[in-house]
């Protein structure tokens, strides 16, 4: 199986979900869209919790589709271990060892505890372990971090990174938080009003300037970067990527890191300023320009093999006389670059 077909049609009171697309059978597919665009409904259709599509007759429990809900939905009458074993016992092919999965998610110490003392982040990790142990063919994650506060979110995110790196299981990850989507997914599907408006590899799709759904202050691009060195005096890590080197606050240990650069934090200059506070000044070529609003323009830049977006005012664009094909300098404020 090299691709998963999603074909679902569902009519509700004032809403129609109409999806017919395919997604890769490995890696994480992010599903992004405003609240109410049908993200959760799509997942519920895939799981069989709503009736739709060609496979409407297959009952939920025979689909081998794991579902991670927004709330962990742990069974309060079972210990952590029994919760994790619940799906394993009911799926004859499930051979994942509870210990291995618990280790992957950092919950080994919790296995013999009851569920009611767990923190929100721990409980969500247990629910992910429970889904992994049922050996599903596909995992659905419905905003698994949105019920957690910022600190608890960081209790879970590194484990999702790890799952992403170590597992080949296809995962559909629904979120309205583009930051989570950029960090975790390989493939992106954008839903608007029950329909797929864009679908493709994460980088290319993020670079599309014709998608208002991606717009707003959070739009931007991602680059895969390799940490080069760490400057302890200023707490900065220098990364290399195809477009040069970039410095980012903090210390990063993983071999490659996906950095997100939002369009609002990239400015353009004809000359490489050397007396600016901006640390990252990188040569770039303008590939595409599109008026976004009466005031702003989105500029797609090529930096080596990577692509980034810059949002600038139309006035600046005219003053600098920017044209497609121009070689210019992209200025990226270090403090705005995130994982």
């Amino acid at each position: 199986m090299s691709a998963i077909t999603l074909r679902h049609f569902l009519r509700k009171a004032s809403f129609v979900l109409d999806v017919d697309t395919t997604i890769p059978a490995t890696g994480i597919t992010g599903v992004f869209g405003e609240s109410g665009c049908g993200k959760t409904t799509l997942l519920r259709c895939i799981a069989g919790l709503e009736r739709s599509g060609d496979d409407a007759r297959v009952p939920v429990h025979k689909r081998r589709v794991g579902y991670v809900f927004q709330q962990p939905q742990l069974f309060a009458h079972l210990s952590v271990r029994r919760n994790i074993e619940y799906g394993q016992r009911r799926n004859p092919g499930a051979t994942q060892s509870v210990e291995d999965v618990a280790q992957l998610l950092g919950i080994e110490a919790l296995l013999d505890r009851s569920t009611d003392g767990l923190s929100g982040g721990e409980a969500q990790r247990v629910s992910i372990a429970r889904v992994l142990c049922q050996s599903p063919q596909l995992i659905l994650m419905d905003e698994p971090l949105s019920a957690l506060d910022e600190r608890r979110r960081n209790d879970v995110l590194p484990y999702l990174d790890r799952l992403h790196a170590e597992s080949r299981l296809p995962i559909i990850y629904v979120s309205h938080n583009i930051g989570e989507i950029c960090r975790l997914s390989d493939h992106l599907l954008i839903l608007d009003n029950g329909r797929v408006v864009a679908e493709g590899g994460l980088q290319e799709t993020l670079m599309r300037t014709d998608l208002p759904q991606l717009g707003g202050r959070n739009s931007g691009g991602v680059i895969e970067a390799t940490p080069l060195d760490y400057d302890g005096e200023f707490d900065l890590t220098r990364f290399s990527f195809s477009g040069g080197a970039i410095r980012v606050p903090g210390r990063y240990d993983s071999p490659t890191v996906r950095l997100r650069v939002t369009a609002n934090d990239v400015s353009l200059s004809r000359v490489a300023a050397d007396s600016s506070t901006i640390l990252n000044i990188l040569p770039a070529v303008i590939e595409e320009m599109r008026a976004e609003t009466d005031a702003t323009e989105l500029v797609k830049l090529a930096l080596g093999e990577d692509r980034l977006l810059a949002r600038i005012t139309r006035q600046s664009s005219r003053r600098l006389g920017l044209q497609v094909g121009d070689s210019i300098f992209a200025q990226i404020k270090s403090v705005t670059v995130r994982r």
């Binding site: 919790l49 429990h61 619940y86």
Partner: protein, 220 residues
Amino acid sequence: MDFGPLWLSARLAFVTSLVLIVLGAPLAWWLSQTRSRWQPVVQAIVAMPIVLPPTVLGFYLLILLGPKGAIGAWWVELSGDALTFSFTGLVIASCVYSLPFAIQPLQNAFESLPRKTIEAAWTLGASRLDAFFSVAVPLSLRGFVSAIVLSFAHTLGEFGVVLMVGGNIPGETRVVSIAIYDHVETLNYAAAHQLSLVLIAFAFVALFGMFLINRRWQSK
């Protein structure tokens, strides 16, 4: 003290609450989960024994269970015995009479389960039946305790229905409330007191125990 009626009442109440839990749990589950437009109709029928005079219930049960009634005639054919004025008939009548006292606590417990928790069980590979027994029932134990205590206690105290359907046959249908009535009729107040005080003490202990258990669970 006259233990016969007490023992009979206890047996009747035990069998009735057992039958009601086994039959009532699936019905309460259906009532809590269905979106059918028949739900309010069934709900109303189930609740009717609360408001109907026991004599009305007893009157129609007498007709239904009698040797010429729909259920009674079938039973006569099956077993050769009449249902009215028998222990079995009393059990059937008590089940009808105490039905709401088993259904309502169970239904409340099932309704307070998050639907997504049950859905989680399904997506983990549990069939509907499996999810009911492995998740819904254990998470609703409080409801089961309340249902057992209330239907047991309520059956113990039944009078009107028994009088209509069961009469007053010692060892067969002469339950404690009938015995008390008899004692009062024959001005044997001492015996009436004895049995009544036993019932009062039992009612208090049972309800107190139930509320205590519920409170423990809540604070947990």
